[in-house]
Symmetry: C2
């Protein structure tokens, strides 16, 4: 079978790899219908995080179950399924506590499982899914192909944007600013509006992304950054700032932007994977009573919550995909995102 | 009149100072019935924060209104009043947003006001109260003298412990650990139980403070610290930790203890004034979805919420005072707290 392998900085190849197969009785094998490239995949691509040896890559996919192990009961061959960007049992203490990303028995795509067997990356023709009963969520029947992009966002970016909003505590009638105009930031705009925020400011310098943000319900756009960005955001909210700021980038600058833009007593919801050496400035947080909540998004638990709205068409996050390519063009998919020619690229095996 | 002045490290003197008097029409002058020494007063006392010139000290008091300016309407001479540990208008955007410690027009006891006039410290015979209508909360009638200690805790430590619990989001049926066994930590135990936590672990190595913690509703006590403390706390909660940890100290070690003890997806509520250079470890927080919320406690807003229970006797935080001295013995009050001979000392002018 074919799958994407990263060999080093800006070196993405689609290669023949060993076929996915059932190893544990709790495994399933899924034929990938659609996968995609994540902003966080660009870190090894750009050499920000080093690639020491060729490895499988990708962590977002939807597909059709091809085979299941003897202990799998919740899904069966032929089911259309969504996988979160990690695998989990969905039943341990942490999963039940709403934090399936801290599953006591789970792990990550493209990395060895707890028995040392490599778990496939998602950018390939097939994926072996450990703990399939916990990991996979099946749709009722085979969805229309037009819904595939939106369903695929439930694997990561829509659930992650939603987590930023949930972690901040966005409520009906509240005010929000979103730092980051990548797919996650755009989904955070959508999520904040869905949770009832009356004003949502998208911080974006790119007209194409500003347009998607407005489609997703952003009421205002701020193009400034840094001190000017803080000033512009505060100005929009009586000089003190919005109730909540959603940080969807992961750099020191973006977190600083978020913390300084939030009104005293407000909350930063953050989902940007921390990149670089900066810690959180406790004195600034303390003196202003700005809280920080979030982390690696437990999207497994959000799939069931968001799925009905995606299926009915009332929630359409698939709009973040502005380029679709065959799996064989994965290298071009990375390049397009790296060069900001695309917000997010969907890959079809 | 007499008031306490700190001259330098371990140099506390009660001296004759200029009489408190009305300056602005929004001022009141209050005759202090009881004041006290705060754990944070020990920082300049111990030389941790330098004292560059003699200055007034103390920020917690209850008393009787002696005089009011022409624009004061909410309190009148003869009223028994509680003051929060800062002064505020209780009406600006931030006050209305629940963060009166970020009042757009307020300030701190013992520091110059916005016109440059020194505002009195609380450890004295009288205090000039700026923005008296916003700052002061009067009791219905003159309270029984036995209630004075508990009323005095509403100026700071009870409201601050409550803020730790509120910031963490303590709910009925939840589990909590409290880092810090000073007056604030003990009040945080009381606050967590009051909000319905079913298990509250007090982290304390001092048998006298452990006893107060148990009186305040602590269900368990852990004496270990550091790695052993984290281990002991996690062990008590299925190996993953409690839902909420309340940080009531302000050191790198105590915050580290709090963050590492919280279950994935849980929240640290913190009110310990940050002391030392440590920032918050974002990668640890991100990977475990542990949030951090809190800050300098907006106790003004909590006084009215907690006052009825103090007046009825159902809430008795005054138990944190284990030594009472006349104002003239302020130096001994500081020494007793510094040497841990007392948890918190009440001063009577």
């Amino acid at each position: 079978m074919l799958a994407t392998v990263i060999h080093g900085e800006r070196d993405i190849r689609v290669e023949t790899v060993p076929d996915s197969r059932l190893i544990a009785p709790t495994d399933a094998v899924v034929r990938v219908v659609a996968a995609c490239v994540c902003g966080s995949d660009l870190w090894p691509y750009r050499g920000v995080t080093p690639v020491t040896a060729p490895r499988r890559i990708g962590h977002e996919f939807v597909g059709v179950v091809e085979a299941v192990g003897a202990d799998v009961a919740a899904v069966a061959p032929g089911d259309f399924v969504i996988a979160p960007f990690y695998w989990c049992d969905n039943s341990c203490l942490n999963c039940r506590g709403g934090v399936s990303t801290s599953c006591l028995h789970g792990g990550w795509w493209g990395a060895p499982d707890r028995e040392g067997h490599l778990v496939d990356g998602a950018q390939g023709e097939f994926v072996r899914v450990p703990l399939a009963d916990g990991t996979l969520v099946k749709t009722p029947g085979a969805p229309d192909d037009a819904l595939v992009p939106s369903l695929l966002t439930l694997a990561d970016v829509m659930g992650t944007g939603h987590h930023a909003a949930v972690s901040a505590g966005v409520t009906a009638g509240s005010t929000v600013a979103v730092v980051g105009d990548g797919a996650v930031g755009l989904c955070a705009v959508l999520a904040a509006r869905r949770l009832g925020a009356t004003r949502v400011v998208a911080m974006s310098r790119h007209t194409d992304r500003q347009a998607i943000a407005r489609e997703f319900g952003a009421t205002e756009v701020v193009a400034e950054r840094g001190d000017a960005g803080v000033e512009a955001i505060k100005e929009l909210f009586d000089g003190i700032g919005p109730d909540f700021v959603l940080e969807c980038v992961g750099t020191k600058e973006s977190m600083d932007q978020a913390i300084r833009s939030t009104r005293p007593g407000g909350m930063v919801g953050y989902v940007g994977v921390p990149n670089g050496g900066a810690e959180l400035p406790i004195r600034t947080l303390f003196s202003s009573n700005v809280g920080v909540n979030g982390g690696v998004a437990p999207v497994r638990g959000y799939i069931e919550e968001l799925l009905p709205e995606v299926l009915s068409g009332s929630l359409d996050p698939g709009r973040v995909f502005d380029l679709e390519l065959p799996l064989g063009d994965a290298a071009e998919a990375y390049a397009a995102m790296d060069e900001r020619r695309a917000t997010k690229v969907l890959l079809r095996p």
